[in-house]
Assembly symmetry: C3
Homo-oligomer: 266 residues x 3
């Protein structure tokens, strides 16, 4: 399996280094995102004050901008942090939550992409379609599942990023390489912020592996394998979420070797 | 039992349609409210930016305004969203958290009732007493339990809404019909935001059943039956809350038929 | 054991009186802090609007200011509330989250200490070092563990407060008395906001016991004994946190007598 050698090594380094991940996280998922970041082995810090985000984003190992419950103040702070991270070579993960659902969100996402050096953009099908400028709203994504990798490639090329399109399968591309991750469970749809949480795990691996296609796949697989193990303990979303955090905490390199379903498209 | 025919049908429609419930939810309960909304079968979106709430509230199926951690910015956005929802016939549920606890909260609640077309107002005894203009603070509600239905009727008539007064028993009235819901468990008092969560479930049913007295009873019973089933698994609030979400997810129409305790007052 | 007589009595009074604890709590820990406050037996209210914090802080039993996700608006409200609490003899607990991590946080903490009558300051080693004006960042605390009590004493004397420095062991001093609490589990490091939660428990006891060294020790031990009991049920952080809330809810005076590890330094 792809990364069977690198994943166990990177997970170990992650837990040894405990990299600092500065989050702009929405209010809904803030607690879960912090706990997931701790469980995989990194150190989360949530901060949005204009007076301090330049200082924090400059010394963080990764900056994760999730626009889920944005407003004008937060957007201005995201831009300040994004520019500071860019100047200091701190990699940035952008989660364009709700892009396409309102004009404001689509505009904010494009502004961030324009003003900061984003390394990875991760969204669901509807959000990434909106970003790619393809017609279609947040719904109706399933019918075009076959075209999803094309969306990833288009975004990767247009914005010079690694693009991650999440869903039942996840599609990762930097414009050249094309990877499909087939782990996960439909139960994740019933846990709010599961997309935000997988972002925290990807961001954590971005601190360790500067090949961001690999870091994205490592984060996706880590989170989704933990979800599969949690689902074996509970098939209802309340207790499932707690087991998911437990399983991230207990995840081993060997879990990846046994359970990862990663397809590298030639 | 009242609604034994309608509840199973409405629950099925809810899960098929997955209606969009735009929440203004307080920071304390935001994660739980989103998870409860997903568990019952609807789609939550939390958003408060002035730049987008008009657009979102106009296309949502229900708008749920909960003032729990209000401030000036949020109140202005709630008003914008409330007006947009009213213009577009999107029903509004208002949760006047802490009305009576501070003058500011009481004023904000009255302003929202004045400027938007609210369909359902749901609060605990103290909050609803404050709204009804009856003397008495947030405490001391129990001693006047017998008068609670009168408070519901008075609010229903004064503001032309369906009024829901929650507590050990819940009182629902549109000024004409009077219903008491006797499900639930005292353990809910030890889970922060349990009142906010039941609001999310009522709002979800408001998207399906436009008789808002019925939708309120459906939401109350669904949440409180799930709580009773959860209490059978745990009698302590940490694990109880997780089982509560599990049981909402697993709730069936048959649970209503077997467990609902609804009294229609003639 | 120290307080073996007082703790059971204070816990009983706490649960009978259900004191109101006004929280300025960060977004990450707001839900957990509210649930922990309910579980130990007090009543939390989270509010930050400038229009109401003076009114609320004046009638609360304790004000708990946690600066975790501060910004300018929140800081101004904290100051308003802190002054109102001070005028009304409402004791204040201050949690200087991230002091030392950014200049802004260090300045805000000193401003609050200057403008309000703070009774207890509780932080981890790095935060308290920053406050004490001792060189050193947020990391590297372990190497100076032996000097931690000196930091507590220095802060207690400089700011005329009870100082609580948390960590594997916790150090409490009002400048004269020196107490070490040795309960707890390393698993708490993997639960975000565990330091914020212990603050809620200390604040709850501050409403009952006006000897704030004793209230701090009672809160620390209550929380950490609950953590030890929770760890016996789960050694992974997702489910552990739920059991922790359960165990706070089920905590008895006898648990203190059996399990407390408190050292009073002569």
């Amino acid at each position: 399996m792809w990364l069977s050698g690198e994943f166990p090594r990177d997970l170990k380094i992650l837990r040894d280094k405990k990299p600092l991940v500065h989050h702009f996280m929405n209010f809904v998922a803030m607690n879960d995102a912090a706990n997931v970041t701790l469980a995989i082995g990194a150190s989360p810090i949530m901060a949005h004050a204009k007076e301090e985000v330049e200082e924090l984003a400059s010394k963080a190992n990764v900056l994760y901008i999730n626009i889920g419950t944005l407003d004008e103040y937060w957007v201005e702070s995201m831009i300040i942090a994004g520019k500071a991270a860019s100047r200091n070579n701190v990699p940035i993960l952008l989660d364009p939550v709700g892009a396409g659902a309102t004009r404001y969100r689509t505009e904010v996402v494009k502004r961030i992409l324009n003003e900061a050096e984003v390394s990875v953009v991760k969204g669901n099908g509807g959000e990434m379609l909106a970003l790619a400028g393809v017609a279609g709203g947040v719904k109706g994504v399933d019918s075009i599942a076959n075209a999803t990798m094309d969306v990833a490639v288009k975004i990767a090329e247009e914005y010079n990023v690694t693009a991650v399109v999440t869903g039942p399968w996840d599609y990762v591309s930097d414009g050249k390489r094309r990877i499909i991750v087939k782990n996960g469970t439909p139960l994740l749809q019933y846990v709010t912020g599961s997309g935000c949480m997988v972002g925290s795990v990807i961001a954590s691996f971005m601190a360790i592996n500067r090949d961001f296609v690999k870091a994205s796949v490592e984060g996706l697989v880590a989170f989704e394998i933990a979800a599969e193990k949690a689902e074996a303990k509970s098939k209802a979303p309340g207790t499932f979420k707690q087991y998911l955090i437990d399983e991230l905490f207990n995840l081993t390199g060997d879990d990846y070797v046994r359970m990862a379903k990663v397809e590298v498209i030639q």
